[in-house]
Amino acid sequence: MYLYTNIIGSFVLNKELEIVESLEFEDIEDYLHKYQFENKLQQKHKNLQPLPDYKEREMLVLFKDDIYMEKFYKQNLELAKHKLKLSVTEDQLIIQTIANVQELDRVINLLSKRLREWYSLYYPELAENMTHHEKFAEMVATKTRKELLQGKTMGADLEEVHVKQMTLLAKQILGTFELQKQHKEYLKNVMEKYCPNVLELAGTTIGAKLLELSKSLKRLAMLPASTVQLLGAEKALFRHLKTGSRSPKYGAIFHHPIVQNAPRSDRGKAARLLADKLAICAKLDFFKGEFLAPEYKKLLEDKFNVKKD
């Protein structure tokens, strides 16, 4: 007598592979705890053996009957949904957040440019003197022209109805800035628990970007340092391989202070060393190692004389 379990249920089979007794699963929870059903059958029938491998093909034929199809459909759909539920990880949350941070950057730029053009009809001198987008939006949103005015203006004297729309837009831009800040704060909190080493060495934005480019911490940990160095520079890298142009020296890590503050001639070296340490950090995080990032950071900063602020 054999015991065979699949997604539909648990079955007792005789030597000719006919079903003697069956316990069908009600839902996917039963399948996940299938050993309970197997135990029940085992107690009832003595000398049950697991089905040998060479007979499994015959079982597949047995279950080809149309009567099992509805069951297959129901159980597999439930199982897929169950697996989908478990498949969400911090990686995906981080990737979505950093993607939105970058998208907001673009949106802010677009809206700010429009606000400048628009507000210049009313008070052109402010847009000319105030180059910082956030401060500009803040001034437009909170203060009236009378409060801001220094001397005379060549802007038109518009009525309150017209100015109100500009203030509304400015408030929207300020809200977007606030949203981006909250995203970054949240990223920091998540990454502190998930990948502290990478966060410490790379910082929030670059660390998250590396995760986004490598799709997951697992893959980032498996990547060699030379690949980490060029993550985000794929276009330049393949152009180099294809046409023999000069190879890129850095990808997403270009904006890191260690690379930025290194003398121009040493930037390639700085990027390489930073990538080495980042690759180690990713491995430390993925395999739950120690917190060594501050040591590496100090080493790199000493090497390239980075001014601390």
């Binding site: 379990t5 997604i7 499994e56 034929v61 297959f72 459909y73 759909l77 897929a80 949904k81 697996k83």
Partner: protein, 225 residues
């Protein structure tokens, strides 16, 4: 009155009178899932099978004489993705057939689940086709294996799955993307190598490159001995 849509030489496939477009009969009339064009003729609704979006359609347009899929078949579809081709295969097998759609990526299975909830003959499975032993207790024996995965060991996966699940005398359809095996080598050489490998295990009955619908792709149809 002459009908606009006629039967194609292949089973369950229909063609326009001019033969430039192919269709499948929609098993759920009035419902499309991928913005594909539909045509009504003599009370039935037909969905257009676009050869630039599906490799199976490209194979049919290239003039394959037998794709092995018949009504009421049980089909194992590896690399189901969002389910575009899957939905047409589900049209072809009809309501009594079954399509087991396997894909390892959660993102696309999400779309496939929504499709499967409407079309009850598609079974979504979040599994890796590299490891048939992990899902052997979730499916039954099948009449056709269709594989469209862009992996380096495509033919290995195909042979493994055909051996495990395909019935004797059943058909296997393998679409090969040369660029995911080796970017540098010539596609023709690669195709021939894979063909020879498959000939050791199965009978190869059709072999076509999918130009111009797909670049550097080919499809091999085999029959299990």
């Amino acid at each position: 009155m002459s009908r606009r849509i006629r039967e194609h030489k292949l089973f369950e496939i229909y063609q326009e009178a001019r033969g430039k477009r192919i269709f499948t009969k929609n098993i759920f009339p009035g419902r499309t899932h991928f913005m594909e064009r539909t045509m009504r003729d003599a009370g039935d609704e037909y969905r257009e099978f676009d050869p630039t979006r599906s490799k199976l359609a490209a194979m049919i347009m290239k003039g394959s004489t037998n794709i092995g899929i018949r009504k009421n078949d049980k089909i194992l579809y590896l690399g189901a993705s969002h389910g575009f081709t899957c939905s047409f295969v589900s049209d072809m097998v009809g309501e009594k057939g079954i399509v087991f759609g396997v894909d390892p990526a959660p993102r696309v299975i999400r779309d496939l689940i929504f499709l499967a909830e409407k079309r009850r003959n598609i079974i979504p499975m979040l599994e890796n086709a590299n490891h048939p032993e992990e899902y052997k207790d979730k499916i039954c024996e099948v009449d056709v294996v269709f594989q469209d995965v862009a992996q380096k060991n495509q033919e290995e996966i195909f042979i493994k799955n055909c051996k495990a699940f395909l019935k004797d005398g059943g058909y296997g359809l393998l679409s090969i993307k040369a660029r995911s095996i080796d970017v540098k080598r010539k596609p023709k050489q690669l195709f021939n190598e894979i063909r020879q490998q498959l000939e050791k295990e199965f009978t190869v009955i059709d072999f076509r490159s999918l130009e111009p619908h797909e670049k550097d792709h080919c499809m091999i149809i085999i029959k299990k001995r």
